[in-house]
Every structure is written in structure tokens, then in C-alpha cells.
Amino acid sequence: MFKHLLERFWARLTGNIDGPLLAIALALMAFGVATVFSATYDANNRAYSQLLNMLVGLAAMWAIAQTPPQKLMRFAVPLYVLGVVLLVLVFLVGVKVNGAKRWLPLGFTRIQPAEILKIAMPLMLAWYFHRYESALKFRHFAIAGILLLVPFGLIAKQPDLGTAILVGASGFYVIFLAGLPWKAVIGLILAGASAAPFVWTMLHGYQRKRLLTLIDPTTDPLGAGYHIIQSTIAIGSGGSFGKGWLQGTQTHLEFIPERHTDFIFAVFSEERGLLGNAILVGLYLLLIARGLMISANASTLFARVLGGAITLSFFTYVFVNMGMVSGVLPVVGVPLPFMSYGGTALVTLFLGLGILMSIHSHRMLVKK
């Protein structure tokens, strides 16, 4: 009897959880917590609180995984509207921290509404395309474009280029996977390239500086170029097999800025070397492959494009972050999934995993 209860409990607990996804995520978390431990070893160790963050994330993931995609669909519009309204409020009454207006004061605490859009944006667009599934016209894509650009513009204006890119990319993946004509895809790329000079004039001074220092970090070795120079030194000096856990001199002598958050890859790379990097990239590749596989087998358009977009967002995080830390992309505030320290970002990532798991476990529902 007791055994039976236990078995049912276990079945309920694991029923909608995708084993491979969870295993990959936990493997990444293991690397992540170990690296956070090393990065914050010298003072104020954050490894334990990152473990707590992970538990919260796992709970959120489990809850979402239990929710069928049809139910998730209902949150699409309200969540999106809430996100945009909050972004407008930030624009009007937001708190400026370090020269950027990203925070909304709530009396007892303050929140970053842009985080909501990381989930709300693909959810909204997936819902929108699902709704007009049978008769998708070009104007639907145009409207989707507007739905994308409004929050994107608000976030970029804060300025928070990193989050804007992530939100924009997740929306773009939905539009692409929903079947945006190839001509339009190519046209967008060409338009983007030709708009570069205009974008340049619209960029903030510090953003331009970051782009310039990317081309030649030595132009400003103690200013904007400092982060890039120090992180590439950390990576390069790691060599093939790394200096060993807790042995990175760049890390422990505090040459790497933001070493437990955005620049955690430099810490990992210095201590684990090329071999560690290859394993890490391999894990991400597995995660993305599993996500894309789940999306390809999903039963509804909503589930397909949502799953695909979330999976490709993971790719965007990884590529932008590693590219930035290794000095091939400009410095923008993008964390490395499951590695960087930070509760909000981690919970958002596990929510994404939860959605993928939900899609996977409910793939047969319609056909049944």
C-alpha cells in the first residue's frame, strides 16, 4: 500500500519531466556551481545561494511542465500586455542605476520588467501565429513585427542592449519558424546591414565605444577595452587543459570583472582550458539538439514555434556570451545559461525548460 503510494508519487513527480533535458541542465549546473564557487571563493562565496536558486528554478520548471500548452496559451496575451505596460512605466518612472533606467520600484522591492518579456515575447507571437494558423498572410508577419519591435525598442532605450537582443532574437525565431518567406528573411538581413550606419548614430556613447574596442581593445586598455583584454588573457592562458580548479590567476587576483556573472566563462575557460570549453559547448549543443527535436515533434503550431524559439534563445545566450567574453562580439550584458550566477535569469531559464518539457509530454494530446 505504502509502496504503491510511493510509486504513484514518483510517477506524478517525474511524469512530465524529460530525462535528457534535465540531465543536460543538471550537468551544466554542476559546472556552473563549481565555477561560481571558484569565482567567489576568495570572498562572499555564492555557490550555495546559486544552489538555492537552482532549487527554485527546478520547482518552477516542474510546475510549468505539468501545465499543458493549451493552458500556457491563455497566459500569452495578459503576460505580454503586462510586460509592455511595465516597460512603459519604467520609461516614465523607472529608477536609474549606473546610468541605465531598467528598474521599476514597487515600494518594498524593485523589478526588471524586461525579464518578463524573455518568456512573454515568444509566448505572445506563438499564440498570435497559432490563432491565424490556417490563413497566414504577409500582414500577419508585419503585425508580429510590430508586436516584436515595441518592447524591443523600449528595452533598447533603457538602455539594455543585451536583454533587447535576447528578447528581439526570441521573437524573430518565432516569426522565422512560423514561416516567414525566405525573401523576407534575406530582405531583413540586407536591410539590417544597410541600416548599420543609422543604428550607429542611434547608439549610446558607451555602446559605440564597446564596438570600437572590439575591433582594437588596445585603444582603451584601462577603460572599455579592459574587460575584453583581461578575459581573453584568462582564456588564452588557460591553454589546452586549464590551470585547474581554483588555480586561475586572472580570476583569483581579480583581473576578471563580473567574474561570477557575465564573465564566468572566462573563469571556467582559464581553469578548464580548451578541453573544458569543448565539453561545455558540447553540452549546450546537446541541450539545443534535444530542444529542437522536441519542437519538431510537437503537435501544434503554437508548441512547435514556441519550443523552437525558446531553444534557439538558449543558443543566442550562449553564442553572445561566449563571443563577448572571448573578444569577438561587443560587450553586452548577457549571462551564460545555467553557469552565470543570478536567481532571476536562472528561474527564467528553467521556466523555458519547463515549457519544452510540457510540449514534449503533451505532444500526443491533440491526436488522442
Binding site: Y173, F176, L177, G179, Q230, T232, I233, A234, I235, G236, S237, G238, G239, S240, T249, Q250, L253, E254, F255, S269, G273, L274, N277, A278, V281, Y284, L285, I288, A289, L292, S295, A296, L301, R304, V305, G308, L312, F315, V318, F319, M322, G323, S326, G327, V328
Partner: protein, 633 residues
């Protein structure tokens, strides 16, 4: 059914389309990740060495450790210059926003006098702002403790243990030893020229004058280094390796500090110079220039009022008269003239002339000091009684070229090469010298009449006291000439090895022994029965000497009574001497500025010096002028 079928077909084709796009995206992901792996391969394999070096450079900082400066000792081991450690309170101006307020605040913890502030201001103007500059030196233990307790309030202010140079004997021998002071631009050029930049990384003082300057690179030593691991903020985390500094080499001088002290005291408040040489080696026993100064004033930056006092004093204490004062030798020139005459055969010792009290040449009358003249004069008498007419005639007979050649061989009119920088050349008059010295052709011509006064050490003649000392030492040493030098040997602090300075003679003048004997004998006569007799009365040794008076301007035959003249218009007094006569251990030249007759003020100083050096006799107070109611030269 048909509709459903078609819908099914549409859905299938939509699914196909979607899956194609998924595959396309997957391809893009693989491509992007491959690019990243390529980048990592480039950084971590191809460029690995470069970045490893950069990481090491980041992490390791070399902190120089200044070596102990070499010690300077006199010939008996008395310390003339040494080092001691003291705590200083230092400010790095670039790290401080409001300098004045910080100094004000510091003034509440430790005493900061207006002179300290002035010195700090001066240093601030002279140095770069990232250097650490002392606001207070020699903190007491209590002050160190008081600052340490409040250290957190003063970023950019530190207590440092520094080595200070100290000259225990104060002003004694300051002109010989010199002093050290903070490195300035000119010094930096010298350091660069000698390729010593790396070795001076941790050094902020350098020898400015005297031996401290000349033997700078011997005294300095080898800077050590500490490899320190630093964090991104530049804070030292731990020491990785240490290369100990090697202390500078010690100098042991030929100088006798006690003799030097006695000599300086003998001068009293008179201005002048004395150089005493050991004839058999050229080693300098005493190098005096009065007034002196206290080199300790310079060590932690001299105050501007003190500097003005030293620099603007009419007595010019900063001038080293022994090396830089060029004076007409007056009658001290006569023994050398006589030796020249014997050597080139223009006179024999017994040859006499008649002195009527004057010598006429080309319508001009050259007067002898003694009215009515000395009568019949041979070489001995000419030196003992300092007969001018004898030498007027001799100079005329010898001619300027012979005089210049012989005096040149004695080292007169050229730098002796003593181991101190900035020696003057003096003037050895000759037709060639005149051509170099003057521009107009009528000035360049040498007139035969000019040769006459050269013979008694006047005219264009101008020599430094050290040149005169070297010349008399050469005579005392029978023509074997050594370069005068202050350092006897240098001790390598690491190996303990001693290297002698100047053990070989500079040159040997092959004089006939009987000629040298004649001159020495005449000089012994000077101290026995001549112009030096009063000063050397009752001496327990036999000595040779010669008095001299350098005329500052001609009185045209008017009666010369020095007592009536203002002091600064009086003639300079000179005396040269050697003793003991048979085996000279000391040869010296004394000059007393505006001292009047050499016999009166210069000879008594020489007596005191020789008395102490040969007999160990300590004088009572400064040398007194000999009363000489009558002119003795």
C-alpha cells in the same frame, strides 16, 4: 473527408516546412559553435604562450630593493659617511585629491613644521606626482604609532623605513666627501649614459659632489628585486621570490680625519685652502677648503633659506678652493724656477748676481721687496730670503718657453686628475696660452717684459692649491710624481677584496740628484734662517718650506703695510712645505685668502699640520698670525 484530407495535407506540408527550418537553424547553431571553438583553439593553443606571458605580467610585479650605500672611511677607519634607517612620512601626490587639507590633517597627528612644508613644496615642484615624497623625516616611535592608528584615514600617505646618509663628522672634510641629494634631470642623464637605469629603480638619492659623486657607481651597489604577486588593484598579495640587493663598495681614504679636523680648526675663520700629500704615494692626507658646510643639510633636501645662506655668502663656502681657486703662486714659485735653472744649466748653485733692489728691462723698473736690495745673491740666498731681482733676471735669461715647459712637467696649469669632479685648470702662461686665451692679434703677442714678473710667480700665473701641493710633493719625492688621490682602496662588500687606487707613479722626472738636493737644502734654510724661521722655530724635525704672497693688485712701489689695508684688499698668503727633510712623509701647500704675507698667516698653519702629523701634537686653538713688523719677503 476530402476537406479534412486536404487540411491534413496542408498540415503535413507545413510540418515539412517547419522541420526544414529547424534543420536549417540547427545547421546555423553548429556553424556558430564551430566558430567559437575555432576562436578558443586560436586563443588557447596557438596564442597560448602569448597570453600566458600576459597573465604572468599581470600577476607579478618587480619591486626594487635599494642597496645599502657604501661607507666612507678615513685611513684609520674613522667613519666619514654611513647610513642609518629612519621612518619617514611620505605622500604620493597623485593619489590625493586635496593635498593641503591632507597635510593639515597629518599635522594634527605628527609635528609638521613650516620648514617641512617648504621642503615638501620644493620636492613637489621637482618631482613627478606619482613619486612618494617625504613630508616628515625621522619620525619618533610614538609618531609612527599615532599615524598607524589613523592610517585608514589617509589613503596615499605611508610610513616608510628609509635609509639615510649621515656624515658623523659634520662639516669636517665636506669638500672632499661631498654630499648626496635627490636625483634630478641631469643625474638621470648621467645614469642613462652609464646604462644604470635598471639599477637605480629603487634609488632616489645620488652623489652630487666630492667623492660621493666621483665614486657614485662604486658606492651605490646592486639593486635587489622582490617578485610580488599583485591583484588587479595593484595590492601586493604575497612575495614569490627575492633577489637580495648587494651593498655598495666601501671607500677607504688616504685622508686622515683627525689631521683634517686639526687643519680646518687651524684656519679659524679665515678663508683658504690646504692640500697635504704623502709624497711617496700621492695619497691626500688633508684636503681643506674653508669655510666649510655641513653635508648633512642636503641629505633630506636642503631648506631654501639654508641653501641661500650657503650660496649667497660672500665667503662662498660651497666653493672648493683647493681645487677651484686659481691663485698666483707668488714667491712659492721660486724653488721651482731655481730647479728649472739648474736642470737646463742657466744657473749654478754658487753663481751670484748683484741685487740693487730693482731690475730694469725695456724702460720698466721691476722692484724688489727689500729697499736697497739684497746685495750679492746666490741661489741659496735667493730662496731663503726670497730675492725678487734674482728671479727677474733668471726669468729673462731662461725665456718663457723654458719656464712653461718645466712648470708644465710639474703638473702646474693642468688638472691633476684628483678623484673629485670639477677641478680647475689654472693658468700656465706661455705664448701658446696667450694665443688661445685672447682674440685680438695685439693681445695675442707675447712681450718679453711679461716674462720678468712670471719669474716671481706673478703676472698671468694662476695655480690651484692642489697643483702647488702636487709640485712640492714631486720635489720632495725627487721627481717621482703621483696623481693626487683621496681613495686608498675600494673594498668589495661581497668578496671583501680590496683594490688599490693609483699604486703606480704618474711620471718620473729625471732630475739630477744634486740639483734636487740644492733646492731642498735651500728650502730647509727658509725654515731655519729665512722667511719661515719664525713659524718653525723650535721644531723637533727638519723641514723645508717657502713662503709666498700673491699680489691682488699692484701698489706701484708704494709702501705696503697690510695692517692699514682693508682685509679683502690684502694679498693672499701662501706657503709650501715638506717634512721631514730627509725622508718626506708629508708635503703641503697652504693658501690663506687676504692673509697678507705668507710667513705671517700661512706658515703657522703649515707648522700645526706638520707638528700633528709627525709628532701627534695637538694645537691649542687656531693658528695665530706671526707678528712680523718688517717685511720678510
Amino acid at each position: 473527408m476530402r476537406f479534412r484530407f486536404s487540411k491534413q495535407r496542408t498540415q503535413d506540408s507545413e510540418l515539412e516546412k517547419f522541420r526544414f527550418r529547424i534543420v536549417f537553424a540547427a545547421g546555423a547553431v553548429v556553424l556558430a559553435f564551430s566558430l567559437l571553438i575555432g576562436r578558443f583553439f586560436y586563443l588557447q593553443v596557438i596564442q597560448r604562450d602569448y597570453y600566458t606571458t600576459r597573465a604572468e605580467d599581470n600577476r607579478i610585479s618587480l619591486v626594487p630593493i635599494a642597496p645599502n650605500r657604501g661607507v666612507i672611511l678615513d685611513r684609520n677607519g674613522t667613519i666619514l659617511a654611513r647610513n642609518y634607517t629612519a621612518f619617514t612620512l611620505e605622500i604620493t601626490p597623485s593619489k590625493i585629491d586635496r593635498l593641503d587639507e591632507t597635510i593639515e590633517e597629518l599635522g594634527r597627528l605628527v609635528e609638521i613644521l613650516p620648514k617641512d612644508r617648504r621642503r615638501f613644496r620644493k620636492l613637489l615642484e621637482e618631482s613627478k606626482s606619482f613619486e612618494s615624497l617625504p613630508i616628515r623625516t625621522r619620525l619618533s616611535d610614538e609618531e609612527v604609532a599615532r599615524f598607524a592608528a589613523n592610517r585608514y584615514r589617509f589613503p596615499g600617505v605611508e610610513v616608510k623605513a628609509r635609509l639615510f646618509r649621515q656624515y658623523p663628522l659634520g662639516s669636517i672634510a665636506s669638500h672632499a666627501i661631498g654630499y648626496i641629494n635627490r636625483i634630478n634631470k641631469t643625474d638621470l642623464e648621467t645614469i642613462e649614459k652609464n646604462e644604470q637605469e635598471a639599477n637605480y629603480k629603487g634609488t632616489d638619492h645620488i652623489g652630487k659632489t666630492g667623492l660621493e659623486q666621483k665614486y657614485e657607481f662604486q658606492l651605490h651597489g646592486q639593486t635587489g628585486y622582490e617578485e610580488v604577486e599583485i591583484d588587479a588593484g595593484g595590492h601586493a598579495i604575497r612575495s614569490l621570490a627575492r633577489t637580495a640587493p648587494i651593498s655598495g663598495n666601501n671607500l677607504t681614504l688616504t685622508l686622515d680625519a683627525k689631521l683634517q679636523e686639526i687643519t680646518e680648526k687651524a684656519f679659524g675663520d679665515r678663508r683658504g685652502a690646504l692640500v697635504a700629500i704623502e709624497p711617496s704615494t700621492g695619497g691626500i692626507l688633508a684636503l681643506v677648503s674653508t669655510p666649510t658646510f655641513d653635508p648633512n643639510l642636503f641629505v633630506d633636501g636642503i631648506r631654501s633659506d639654508e641653501w641661500d645662506l650657503l650660496n649667497n655668502s660672500p665667503d662662498r663656502p660651497m666653493v672648493n678652493r683647493a681645487l677651484n681657486g686659481a691663485y698666483p703662486p707668488g714667491s712659492t714659485f721660486k724653488p721651482f724656477m731655481a730647479l728649472a735653472a739648474l736642470e737646463i744649466g742657466k744657473r749654478s748653485p754658487s753663481q751670484t748676481i748683484y741685487d740693487p733692489g730693482y731690475f730694469s728691462f725695456g724702460g720698466h723698473t721691476f722692484r724688489d721687496d727689500k729697499k736697497g736690495g739684497h746685495g750679492s745673491v746666490d741661489m741659496y740666498k735667493s730662496i731663503v730670503h726670497s730675492c725678487d731681482t734674482y728671479y727677474y733676471m733668471l726669468a729673462n735669461d731662461m725665456g718663457i718657453d723654458n719656464i712653461a715647459r718645466f712648470m708644465g712637467s710639474l703638473g702646474l696649469g693642468s688638472r691633476t686628475g684628483i678623484d673629485i669632479e670639477g677641478e680647475s685648470e689654472g693658468v700656465l702662461p706661455s705664448p701658446e696660452w696667450k694665443k688661445r686665451r685672447f682674440k685680438r692679434p695685439d693681445q695675442q703677442k707675447w712681450y718679453a717684459g711679461e716674462t720678468i714678473s712670471i719669474g716671481i710667480g706673478q703676472g698671468y700665473n694662476a695655480y690651484t692649491p692642489i697643483q702647488l701641493a702636487q709640485a712640492i710633493a714631486a720635489v720632495a719625492n725627487n721627481g717621482v710624481l703621483y696623481r693626487p688621490h683621496l681613495v686608498r682602496y675600494i673594498t668589495d662588500t661581497k668578496s671583501g677584496q680590496k683594490s688599490l687606487i693609483e699604486p703606480e707613479p704618474l711620471r718620473t722626472l729625471h732630475w739630477k740628484p744634486q740639483n734636487v738636493e740644492t733646492i731642498k737644502n735651500a728650502m730647509i734654510g727658509v725654515n731655519k734662517e729665512g722667511t719661515g724661521a719664525r713659524a718653525f722655530a723650535g721644531a723637533e724635525y727638519v723641514s723645508g718650506g717657502k713662503t709666498g704672497t700673491a699680489q691682488l693688485f699692484s701698489l706701484k712701489g708704494a709702501d705696503y703695510r697690510s695692517g692699514k689695508l682693508k682685509q679683502e684688499l690684502r694679498d693672499h698668503a701662501l706657503f709650501i712645505a715638506f717634512a721631514p727633510a730627509d725622508q718626506p712623509k708629508i708635503a703641503l701647500a697652504v693658501l690663506v685668502e687676504n692673509g697678507g704675507f705668507g710667513a705671517r698667516s700661512a706658515a703657522p698653519i703649515a707648522r700645526m699640520v706638520i707638528d700633528y702629523y709627525l709628532l701627534g701634537k695637538l694645537p691649542q686653538g687656531p693658528a695665530k698670525d706671526e707678528d712680523s713688523p718688517e717685511k720678510v719677503e
